[in-house]
Amino acid sequence: MKKTIFIFTILVVMIWNTADVFAENAFNQLLQMPPGKIRTSASYNYRYYGNSDVRNQDTDVGM
C-alpha cells in the first residue's frame, strides 16, 4: 500500500478533486485557451482523513 502511494507520489502528477472528471473535462475544454495553444499540465493531490472510524486516504494523479 505505502509502496503504491510512494510510486504515484514519485510520478507527481495530478488533477483536482474529480467527482466527475468527465463533465469537468468538457467544461474546461470550453473555457480553455483556443486550439493550438493548449499546454501540458500535471497535478497531484493527497488527502488524509483522521479522527474517525474510517480513516480514508485519497490520492489523485492526473495528466
Binding site: 500500500m1 503504491t4 502511494i5 504515484f8 507527481v12 495530478m14 488533477i15 483536482w16 478533486n17 474529480t18 467527482a19 466527475d20 472528471v21 468527465f22 463533465a23 469537468e24 473535462n25 468538457a26 467544461f27 475544454q29 470550453l30 473555457l31 483556443p34 486550439p35 493550438g36 495553444k37 493548449i38 499546454r39 501540458t40 499540465s41 500535471a42 497535478s43 497531484y44 493531490n45 493527497y46 488527502r47 488524509y48 482523513y49 483522521g50 479522527n51 474517525s52 472510524d53 474510517v54 480513516r55 480514508n56 486516504q57 485519497d58 490520492t59 489523485d60 494523479v61 492526473g62 495528466m63
Partner: protein, 259 residues
C-alpha cells in the same frame, strides 16, 4: 492534460486521471456479509479533439475509457465508458452558447442514456463568468480586487463553492465547501448493475501559492461530514445497504504544474 497534436485551428490531447482511495475499515455493508473494499481505484483516459471553424464555432469530442473498482479492469463489468460531443457557438465577442450530448456508463443518474445539454456562457468582463445551463452550472466572480468567488454544480449532488483572497503577492487564503461522490463497481458483486456510492460533504480552508502561471501549490484542511456509503443499482435503493461514517478532520496537499 497532454497535448498530442497542436495546429492553428485544432488540437488533440489526452487527459489521464487516476484516483486511489484507501478506506481502511473492517466494516460491512449494512444487511449483508459484504466487506467494504479497503482499496478502490478509478482510472480514466479521455482523448479529446477540438476544432474551430472559420466562423468561430468550436466543435469538440471527448472519449472516455477507464475502470472504477477494487480490481481495475477485472472484467468488462468493472470498466467505464463514455463519450461527449459539444459545440460552442460564439455570441458577441465574449459570450457563447454551448450544446452537448453526453453518454456515460458511470454517471450518477441515467447511466447508459445519452443526455443532451445546453447552456450559455456569459463573460462580460474578466471579473465575471457565468455558465448557466444543463447539465452543469458555473460562476466565477471577483466583486473587488484580490477577492474571487467560484461556484459550480454538476447533477445531481456535486457542488463546489470557494472564496479566496490574495493576502500577499502570489499567496491566497481560501475557504471552500464541497459536496462530492465517488462510484465504483465492486468486483464479484452479484448484480452487475449495482455500484458502490460514497458521498461526503467537506468544509475547510487553506493557503495556496502560485509563483507563476505554471505552478500552483496548495495546503488545506477541514472537516468532512455526512459521509455514507451504499451498494445499489439506484440511489433510492440506498437504505438497504447504507453505512454511515463518522465525521472526520482531513488534511490535503495539492500540486499542479503547467508547462
Amino acid at each position: 492534460m497532454l497535448p498530442i497534436i497542436k495546429k492553428e485551428n485544432s488540437d488533440f490531447s489526452v487527459y489521464t486521471t487516476f484516483r486511489y482511495t484507501n478506506w481502511d475499515t473492517k466494516a460491512f455493508l449494512s444487511n449483508t456479509d459484504i466487506e467494504i473494499p479497503n482499496n478502490v481505484y478509478n482510472i480514466n483516459f479521455l482523448p479529446t479533439y477540438r476544432y474551430v471553424f472559420e466562423n468561430g464555432w468550436m466543435f469538440g469530442a471527448i472519449g472516455q475509457i477507464g475502470s472504477a473498482s477494487d480490481k481495475l479492469f477485472n472484467s468488462l463489468d468493472e470498466c467505464v465508458y463514455g463519450a461527449r460531443v459539444f459545440l460552442k457557438v460564439p455570441s458577441g465577442e465574449r459570450n457563447a452558447w454551448m450544446f452537448l450530448v453526453d453518454y456515460s456508463s458511470n454517471r450518477e443518474f441515467l447511466r447508459y442514456v445519452p443526455l443532451p445539454g445546453v447552456g450559455y456562457l456569459y463573460n462580460p468582463n474578466d471579473d465575471l463568468q457565468i455558465f448557466a445551463g444543463f447539465p452543469f452550472a458555473f460562476v466565477r466572480y471577483s466583486p473587488i480586487e484580490k477577492v474571487q468567488l467560484t461556484f459550480s454544480y454538476l447533477p445531481i449532488t456535486t457542488i463546489k463553492a470557494k472564496a479566496s483572497y490574495e493576502v500577499y503577492k502570489n499567496w491566497k487564503v481560501f475557504a471552500d465547501f464541497n459536496l462530492t461522490d465517488q462510484r465504483y463497481f465492486r468486483a464479484g458483486r452479484d448484480n452487475r448493475n449495482e455500484r458502490i456510492f460514497y458521498y461526503e460533504k467537506k468544509a475547510g480552508g487553506g493557503l495556496s501559492f502560485s509563483p507563476n502561471r505554471g505552478i500552483l501549490l496548495t495546503a488545506q484542511g477541514g472537516y468532512s461530514f455526512d459521509r455514507y456509503m451504499f451498494e445499489a443499482k439506484k440511489y433510492y435503493h440506498s437504505h438497504n445497504t447504507r453505512v454511515n461514517f463518522d465525521g472526520a478532520y482531513y488534511a490535503e496537499v495539492k500540486a499542479k504544474l503547467t508547462f
